[in-house]
Symmetry: C2
Subunit: 109 residues, 2 copies
Amino acid sequence: MGLAKTEIFTDKQNEISQYAKVFGHPARVAILQYLFKLNACVCGDLVDEIGLAQPTISQHLKELKHLGLIKGNVEGTSVCYCIDVGNWTKMKKVMSEFLDQDLDKKECC
Amino acid sequence: MGLAKTEIFTDKQNEISQYAKVFGHPARVAILQYLFKLNACVCGDLVDEIGLAQPTISQHLKELKHLGLIKGNVEGTSVCYCIDVGNWTKMKKVMSEFLDQDLDKKECC
DNA sequence: CCCATTAATCGTAATATTGCAATTAATAAA
DNA sequence: TTTATTAATTGCAATATTACGATTAATGGG
């Protein structure tokens, strides 16, 4: 099939997995880390920084933008990307709630 | 292609994306949440709880086990699964480091 | 206007993922 | 030993993802 049966899961479960999915590729992780590191916006030197072709980077940026984790601003011929702090914070709350579950007496085997 | 060029990324970036990838499907999120909720081990009532066929659940469990996030214990004809607390903690550290980056002055657009 | 620069989009090939029916393996019960 | 129960494995179809070459916007400089 190749497609997840999202309708049988809760909105929260789908939300968590959507965020996780976008982090599920090292290129997108690298892009986000680079945007954080620069402390300022970056354009297409992501293509130089990461060793992937321009269309590939563009595609990854699109997915990050689609989830709202980054914003893009046109500056002349280039486009400046940066973290969307508000949405990043929202995402962190959702992911933390999932990751930080009570670990007391969970093992039995 | 369909395959990520993992060799051009750091070990950390690949580690983060691997963890994220396994959380990138609502069924696996649901399985983990259920294991947390029960406060004890579960066997194959995951098949009843989640609405997917037994082979499908089995496959998802395999992926979670492969990353070490859950453990399985054979008990008679059934297998009891539970969270691997130690590895879950390790994973949390890696993911938190990535998610909790400094958000000060990151936006430009 | 013409050309250079930059990034998005399109098309496509290779591979991965998801899901399940059918089967197999493993153990327990009778 | 036979049978029932449970879970893993196999095989396969449908779809998604990844990557990139080629092309297409879109803007700026001359």
